[in-house]
């Protein structure tokens, strides 16, 4: 069964969207101009509305992120499954490594810059760069240009700025670009959502993950007490100040358990590794899961 198509009004007005993409995806990106929307757009939209899958032929570059690539491959696999189901053509530019925030946020700007270079090299040609992490996408958005400028590399800064414009967290891409909140997922479980700090306060994904989760069939979303409080991960903070980090993670895990949920879901696997680690150590039986894996899940898939 094709997923339910639901276009939000923003779809028409979002300046980042080039509707012509949906029909002629093989056109070169330089040929497309967002400002050319007008009467043509209405005609194109009519065509799009009639399509059986919402994002037919839309080419998307997957930014897997280093932690997912190495430690949590099920998450980028889920993104591939989900985006392909929605009609996208998914590329995985293999030059990519990391967003660099591990280095940048510890103070090692030169090492952070090396990662930014790999990001630009990998994603420069793409119009839509999608990563299942508010934190990594947030780091690219907030720090990549700063690092290049600090190093005096104006050419890289300009390229990075262009990449920033085209980089999306998965939830933003689904809701803003594809105009979807119902992606046709089925997940018959009680879950609670932890809005990770960088997804809410740097990437600013806002209500999008909640909208997406509420539209999942069978899913029972339970509110997490003190949801907006940090889980205590903080990258190298968890190693430099392990006692405070553990105290924060313990409080977060306690709040998760208090909801009675079977799964704790976030849009960032790093935070999930922290919360999930405490949940596992304490034999709570609550399992961590990434938002992408819930959205990719359909009836008939093994639980």
């Amino acid at each position: 069964m094709p997923p339910t198509v639901e276009f939000c009004p923003r779809f028409l007005t979002n300046r980042k969207i080039d509707l012509s993409l949906f029909l002629w995806s093989d056109q070169k990106s330089s040929d497309r101009s967002c400002s050319s929307l007008g009467e043509d757009a209405k005609l194109i939209l009519k065509g799009v509305m009639a399509l059986p899958v919402p994002a037919k032929g839309l080419r998307v570059a997957l930014f897997a992120t280093c932690i997912n690539d190495l430690m949590f491959p099920s998450t980028p696999k889920a993104v591939v499954k989900l985006l392909e189901r929605l009609g996208c053509i998914v590329d995985f530019p293999t030059e990519q490594t990391c967003c660099g925030q591990m280095f940048t946020n510890t103070g090692y700007f030169d090492a952070g810059l090396a990662s930014v270079k790999t990001y630009v090299k990998a994603f420069e040609p793409y119009e839509y760069i999608v990563g299942p992490s508010g934190s990594c996408v947030g780091a690219i958005r907030h720090q990549s240009v700063m690092l290049a400028e600090k190093a005096g590399d104006t050419a890289l800064a300009a390229k990075a700025a262009k990449c920033v414009e085209h980089s999306y967290d998965l939830s933003e891409f689904l809701v803003d670009v594809l105009g979807l909140v119902d992606v046709g997922a089925f997940f018959p479980h009680k879950v609670t959502y932890h809005p990770t700090c960088h997804s809410t306060r740097i990437a600013k994904v806002g209500e999008r993950p909640y909208q997406l989760l509420r539209a999942v069939r069978g899913l029972d979303l339970i509110e997490l007490p003190d949801a907006s409080t940090c889980c205590g991960f903080g990258g190298t903070f968890s190693i430099k100040n392990p006692e405070v980090s553990a105290a924060m993670a313990a409080d977060k895990a306690r709040n998760v358990v208090s909801t009675g949920a079977e799964y704790v879901v976030t849009g960032d696997n790093a935070c999930l590794m922290n919360i999930g680690g405490v949940l596992h150590r304490n034999n709570t039986g609550v399992r961590p899961i990434h938002l992408a894996e819930i959205l990719a899940h359909q009836e008939g898939d093994a639980a």
Partner: protein, 506 residues
């Protein structure tokens, strides 16, 4: 500054040994943040008090902020004003001096804590008195004025209720707005019963721990000090340049007593506290009370321009203090920390502050603003100052709460960069920059990353074949795995899966 305690008995309760001031000539002796935090985390009572207090105040702040329809605009106005003040600080300070002097105030300039204390002690001594009453003030905490006065045989009496609790408790403030936030009412009762009588009017017999009863005891204790004091000392929230007016914002009215009863008033002011015009007050009077005590308007706002014959203090001294502020001003990326209006919204929302309390920070300025302000003012030489910028998960809750939009997380990262650079160029090698070399190698090219993935996959497919999660492990994994398990890496990375399943494509 060395204080010789053997000359005569102290006049005021002694604080704990060590220093949390800014501008001491010798390096600060406090251990690094991690050691302090570890100890503070064991204080269950403090954690309970802090959780209760910070949760209450931050929820109330959200309500008060939501009432202002143009809150974001007012925040931007506050930030822009403070930036302008920083850009033209030389001009505004000269204008402030001119107009303060015209109004009848004596203006003094102090480069550092020592100079400020010398000026203040000199004024007090010239009045022939051996005690002063003072309003709660961060800058006097910062220069450790009370101890400097004590060393000169002058007793400085704190009159703010929470500062009184801290002073009588031989303690240090743990919060810039609510200095005794780490104490509960039972502890306050004990402190009052044990100490109050030794320094003046004792508390009533069989005093309960009911807050109004405790406040009543403090009132009676302070009354005689207010009536006796010939010199009052205040800080200042704002000094208005075009009128030469000093302004204090407070909640309890003790400030009003100190500002009106003594014959001489000394106001100690950080150089960044000047604001250009009287009209600019409207911005800060909207931002400050809502962000600090979560009130629409604070109970007492006092403003004074010079002196008035026969009414209030007859002599007014204003001591402008730099004490490291111009160090921060000289750093283009760090200078916006000087926008701070000392509201404490960042502390109240900080999940780390909530768990460790202010004492862990080894500075009069704790919490998010403290970890960016202290190392800029004091330098990054001591163990504590080098560790402060790392006392953050970069969760960014502080940046959202800050009424003058200080980009606290960005300044934290900037300071971490300064510290990392310093480590790299130090004479003796550090572990961290050494570790960063191979880790950077791993990520600076996809080929290297793939190589590491292959090694990890091999380990995962052999040694860790039947393992889902890894439990407690020795160093270097110990900091992480002492508190939480870590998932075992999968036998196949995403990249390997992609190659296998989407082979031909990029």
């Amino acid at each position: 500054m060395t204080i010789n305690l053997s000359i005569s008995p102290r006049r005021t309760p002694a604080p704990p040994p060590g220093t949390i001031g800014i501008g001491q000539p010798e390096p600060v002796a406090s251990p690094a943040f991690r050691e302090n935090a570890k100890r503070q985390l064991q204080n269950t009572q403090m954690r309970k008090n802090l959780r209760h207090a910070t949760t209450t105040i931050r929820n109330k702040r959200l309500l008060r902020v939501a009432e202002v329809p143009n809150w974001e605009e007012v925040r931007s106005a506050g930030a822009a004003l403070k930036d302008r003040i920083g850009r033209h600080l030389d001009k505004y300070l000269a204008q402030a001096e001119e107009n303060l002097t015209k109004a009848g105030a004596h203006v003094h300039w102090a480069r550092d804590a020592e100079e400020a204390n010398r000026i203040i002690t000199g004024i007090v001594k010239s009045k022939g008195v051996d005690e002063v009453v003072k309003i709660k003030s961060m800058v006097t905490q910062e220069i450790e004025m009370n101890e400097a006065l004590e060393a000169a045989g002058i007793a400085a009496w704190e009159t703010d209720l929470a500062e009184l609790i801290v002073q009588l408790g031989h303690d240090r403030p743990s919060h810039i707005l609510v200095p005794a936030i780490h104490r509960n009412r039972e502890e306050v009762r004990e402190i009052f019963n044990k100490e109050m009588g030794q320094y003046g009017t004792p508390p009533p017999d069989k005093m309960s721990n009911d807050p109004p009863i405790l406040a009543g005891a403090a009132r009676r204790h302070l009354r005689e000090k207010f009536l006796r004091a010939k010199v009052g000392i205040s800080g200042s929230n704002m000094v208005i340049c075009d009128t030469g007016t000093v302004c204090i914002v407070e909640s309890e009215g003790n400030g009003r007593m100190c500002l009106t009863l003594p014959e001489t008033l000394i106001s100690v002011v950080g150089v960044e506290k000047v604001i250009p015009t009287f009209d600019d007050l409207e911005v800060f009077m909207k931002l400050l009370p809502r962000s600090s005590t979560a009130e629409r308007m604070n109970p007492y706002t006092s403003m004074w321009t010079g002196t008035t014959d026969g009414d209030g203090p007859q002599e007014l001294h204003v001591v402008f203090v730099d004490n490291g502020r111009t160090n921060a001003l000289a750093d283009p990326e760090g200078r916006s920390a000087l926008r701070c209006i000392r509201c404490s919204a960042c502390m109240n929302i900080c999940p780390i502050f909530e768990r460790v309390g202010g004492h862990a920070y080894g500075s009069v300025y704790p919490g998010p603003i403290g970890i960016i302000l202290t190392p800029q003012m004091r330098g990054i030489n001591s163990a504590i100052d080098k560790s402060l910028p790392y006392a953050s998960t970069l969760c960014c809750a502080c940046a959202d709460a800050c009424p003058v939009k200080i980009p606290i997380p960005d300044i934290i990262v900037h300071l971490r960069n300064k510290i990392a650079d310093k480590k790299k160029h130090d004479m003796h090698p550090h572990l961290e920059p050494t570790v960063m070399v191979p880790v950077n190698w791993m990520f600076n090219s996809a080929k290297h990353f793939e190589f590491v993935q292959k090694a990890v996959s091999f380990a995962a497919g052999t040694a860790l074949k039947n393992t889902d999660y890894l439990g407690p492990m020795p160093w270097p994994a110990s900091p992480w795995t002492r508190a939480r398990d870590i998932p075992a890496p999968p036998a196949e990375s995403f990249r390997q899966w992609w190659k296998k399943n989407r082979g031909g494509r990029r």
